[in-house]
Symmetry: C2
């Protein structure tokens, strides 16, 4: 057994995305203690930078010490008490995960189901809330990583508030890649992942809770079932100036990496990043369509940074993805759950969202689809993408 | 706000410990996907290396994607069902944390309390189990990080098995630093941390479950309250050859680091590492006692890698630790919980357990204690430690 030397993959899947060499270098800095005053300064800076990317002034904004799925569970376990009625929207795999977690926590779930690959319908959402006046929490996914569908978070939150419901929004794939305005839209609780459009190290989950949500948690009748995720406990470590209480050992070097990734995000500016992702999305879609491929999500409901494309008939899903990986060192995502074998998920997130990476991916895919027997004139996808870049 | 450049601290506290530059360099390798076949090979190697350090053949041996406290909660949440009667031993802060988590999970807890700074008394343990014949799970801390006391895990497990109880052992501070033999001692479930004697990156928690424990989990009447920590779900990702199911995005670069740290541990050999920690412990204690300091734990109950020493009267705890940090770049640990202000915790774990680092720490502490007004002849602590090293 030897030291591990990973291949240099071009990460064009649903995450993790490419990590900037400056972020990787930051992670290799010497470890210091999780209560070191220098580290506490770093923590405060991370909070401030996360407030910027979430577009919030929430004091309770910090990274959970675990991946996005732990962030999801952290939010749900704090907000839900056994027997509580909760609306969960499911239009893909991750809505299903919310439902699963909420169920284990003893919630009575009212499910709003939507076809996979479509946005949540605000009218159905409103009708459901009207019918169930005792609901005080609704949870939905902003950008469904499993299908590429983007829901209208702003409208859904507005409707939820009309019915006096707290809102929990999954922004794992949206944060940093497309418009998300926590405070302006009134989102009460939001979580994300470090390894998508922020291009930070995998394994951290930025979360934010507003005052209304914290008040709801304070008023619980039963303790939060999880000690590790109890936000009131965690905040004793993540706030309070230099005098803060030990809660758990933070993933120190990962936080070095997140800090550096957030500095890069701030340097570019959020709106510039949103534009970049959108522009590269248009080029990618033009290239895919020029090959004759069909996007799986209607145009107005697409997540720019995560593109679900239908696998053409007669093409071997597994073989194409494995050749992409082994011959071209490019990773794209398979379909998840009921979409396995039907779609590919091509991400262009964070540091992976660059014109030359889009072109490299299109070229390789075009070649492999020809090898699968599709009649695609050489270079059409690159030309189409270039057209978009030129007109940018 | 600028890129963070951490100071070079000598980490002589209760963890994190020093990380070898080879481990830091491994973490800066380019990120690949969490389902990449190359990554799956790495995962299998990590499992095998963890089996070695745990001294187990348990197939269910893997790192939880979060810090040791999440590992603790992961073990408890899988083993405990609401209403179950559980014996928890508390001889320090972390036994208290086990109790807190078990309580939130709805366990009926039978507490065995022991003075902080002492090992769990096997006779009291036996008497308790005799009295409560319906108990099927006992949980205790092997090496209590908060006090420096080492309990006799082998004997406690033996006794527990006489009463047909499953055993859950906290080995956060013991794994890799002193004798721990999961299979030979019959430990059913054990968890640890990456950042102590393994000198891996903070943020991972190695765990191991034997067949008996997995069978207990399989026979649960209620689902595990946590989806993220449900070991049956997690094992779909952490086992099964090349075809494995997505569960969550692993902390990829942290796992690169853990792999490298485990390779270094295997290269040294576990028994050599135990000897090294014990030898350096003897030198450290000789040095501390030569200064006139008193160890807080009786000699036969001490954790070699974590040394609790009483703070002499008239000495300012906070001032000494801050000067050590700011003037000497050395971190040692404060007392936790009821021992705050009474003891210092001087660790020498993993890559921090080296003769020159012990000497450097003794020298600095000796000087600072003189500044606090203690009459200590210059160089006595170094001389005493050197005596141990010379006689090694």
């Amino acid at each position: 057994m030897n030291s591990f030397q990973p291949p240099e993959r071009l990460l064009m899947g649903p995450g993790p995305s490419r990590i900037d060499p400056r972020v990787l270098a930051a992670m290799a800095n010497p470890t210091i203690g999780h209560l070191d005053p220098q580290f506490i300064i770093l923590m405060d800076e991370i909070k401030e930078l996360l407030q910027y990317v979430f577009q919030t002034e929430n004091e309770a904004t910090f990274p959970v010490s675990g991946p996005g799925s732990l962030g999801m569970e952290s939010c749900l376990v704090n907000l839900i008490e056994p027997g509580m009625r909760v609306v969960v929207c499911q239009n893909g795999f991750f809505g299903g995960r919310m439902r699963e977690i909420a169920g284990r926590l003893g919630a009575e779930i009212i499910l709003i189901e939507e076809s996979w690959g479509r946005a949540i319908d605000p009218q159905k959402f409103r009708d459901t809330l009207k019918k169930h006046s005792d609901v005080r929490l609704v949870a939905f996914v902003h950008a469904e990583t499993s299908t590429g569908a983007l829901s209208d978070a702003r409208t859904l939150v507005e409707v939820a508030h009309e019915f006096d419901c707290l809102t929990l929004v999954d922004a794992v794939t949206s944060l940093g890649g497309c418009e998300l305005k926590t405070d302006e839209w009134g989102i009460d609780v939001c979580y994300s992942g470090s390894q998508k459009c922020l291009s930070g190290p995998p394994g951290l989950s930025p979360v934010t809770f507003n005052e209304r949500a914290l008040q709801h948690i304070k008023n619980r009748n039963s303790p939060v079932q999880s000690w590790f995720m109890d936000v009131e406990e965690v905040l004793k470590y993540w706030s309070g100036g230099l005098k803060r209480a030990y809660h758990h050992t933070a993933p120190i070097n990962n936080l070095y990496g997140l800090h550096e990734a957030l500095l890069l995000a701030r340097k570019e500016g959020l709106e510039n990043a949103w534009k970049r992702h959108f522009q590269n999305h248009r080029a990618l879609v033009a290239g895919l369509e020029a090959m004759g491929l069909k996007m799986a999500v209607p145009e107005k409901e697409r997540i720019p940074q995560l593109n679900a494309v239908e696998i053409p008939g007669g093409v071997d899903d597994q073989r194409v993805r494995m050749k992409l990986l082994n011959e071209y060192n490019i990773e794209i995502g398979a379909g998840l759950g009921q979409m396995a074998g039907q779609i590919w998920r091509i991400g262009q997130m964070g540091a992976s969202s660059q014109a030359e990476k889009i072109i490299r991916t299109l070229r390789a895919l075009e070649q492999l689809l020809r090898e699968e027997g599709l009649q695609i004139p050489e270079g059409v996808s690159e030309k189409a993408a270039d057209g978009v870049f030129a007109g940018a």
